[in-house]
Symmetry: C2
Subunit: 262 residues, 2 copies
């Protein structure tokens, strides 16, 4: 989809970039991107997130290794975005307030604040002709990332962002059609026939052209299904539980678990 509006164009034409030129970002460009991130809405002015710029080559190599050596981390700047309940706790302690942002609330609103900032940065980068790629490997290896970056309790690394000058111009990838992502006045399940049709629309064009037999649909569905099932997510959940406990952010028994920093 194209648009004459430059903001819409930046959003509609964006695609994750996984091949970067190796040219470093000018410090003032990085500063502009970070300023754009910080303009994101934040829950109750809480600022429940932090951004870590990873500049040290040794740390970057260790994170690259921990995240499965993802190509997008080569030739780009690398940021680690964290849920951060620690800063607000320190502020609350400083001014004699009882801390209250705990449990699932802390996880969900921390994730909202962090993601809104990340997506602001991603769109700002697109507007400047820069490429970005979310690196989910940071969250899937959160406990290791905590050790590598010596992150204290209350801070959970969730996503990485590779940012830099692109060396490829990928086309935007397909999405599940809007009519199945957007509901009106309630929620409607997709029918089996709609799922089959959407799978073909979601598939890469080569598969989409194959046609509509049951075998075609199954072949088109396989890449999607293999991403949402599989041991990948089970291992990820184990790691995430360990990291939540280690960082004192497990929402057990109505509060946070061990690792409190008081």
């Amino acid at each position: 989809m194209s648009s004459d509006n430059p903001v819409l164009a930046a959003i509609l034409n964006r695609a994750s970039v996984r091949l970067f030129s190796g040219r470093a970002l000018e410090p003032e460009t990085l500063e502009t991107l970070l300023a754009a991130a910080l303009r994101a809405p934040t829950t109750a002015m809480g600022h429940f997130y932090s951004i870590i710029v990873v500049a040290d080559p040794g740390l970057k190599a260790a994170l690259h290794q921990a995240c499965g050596r993802q190509r997008a981390m080569n030739g780009s700047e690398f940021l680690v975005l964290c849920i951060d309940l620690r800063r607000s706790d320190l502020w609350a302690e400083r001014f004699g307030a009882r801390r209250r942002m705990t449990g699932y609330t802390a996880l969900i609103y921390g994730t909202i604040d962090m993601t809104a900032a990340a997506e602001n940065l991603v769109i700002a980068a697109a507007g400047l002709g820069l490429g970005t790629c979310y690196i989910g490997g940071i969250g899937h290896n959160a406990a290791r990332v905590c050790r590598i970056l010596a992150l204290p309790p209350g801070v959970l690394p969730v996503v990485g962002l590779a940012v830099g000058y692109p060396a490829e111009s990928p086309a935007p990838r397909p999405r599940i059609p809007l009519r199945f992502m957007v509901h009106r006045d309630g929620y409607r399940d997709m029918t089996a026939q709609e799922i089959d049709a959407a799978v073909l629309e979601l598939a890469r064009p080569s598969r989409r052209d194959a046609g509509g037999t049951a075998d075609d649909v199954l072949a088109a569905a396989r890449p999607y299904i293999s991403m949402i099932e599989g041991p990948f997510w089970e291992r990820g959940e184990e790691h995430l539980r360990a990291a939540l406990a280690g960082q004192g952010l497990a929402p057990v028994d109505g509060g946070r678990g061990g690792g409190e920093h008081e």
Copy 2:
């Protein structure tokens, strides 16, 4: 901060709008905004979210009541953004896959997908001269919202978005200074002196001018602290736990709780 780049300008000058003109969005404008939302990155192509357009006046009034009658819901379109594990479960069942996206992973990546889409819509709206406001009351009253919209298991409403033609032009609100939000190669706690200085920068200009005595700092801190503590979040956590259990999304015992839809 200003910028000649239209994408940066849209991001840097955005502020939440709470007063709308009452003029309805053209259907094609709403469609464009939804298309922008759907271009957001999505975890493993999972599309773990749904957007509900609330058009029925009775439903909108019921949500307005449930969310504490927030002014931003008057004279604007209203969307409810949900974590949605249900669609991917249906797809997985259709193609014989075991479901694996459960537990904390489902909550966090659902929240990431949902928020990236929401923020894309917010920036796209800013680029079109429209106003938006996140409505946290949706998540704080998630169980009631589920009943009002008859949301099935696997779907959790987390944020609302009011979208429309603005009837005010608020200035962007202050943020915690970038140097405390962004770390380099690790995590650094703010010192007590830095917290005091940041509190004064964060405060509205009227308070910031007051000066730097301990009493000034405490007065400046009060609005921030009152938002992050207080019974508001404790009640919200209770509601959230009830909604997670009710929607079959509580990450207890390594999987989802009751309410499975298989």
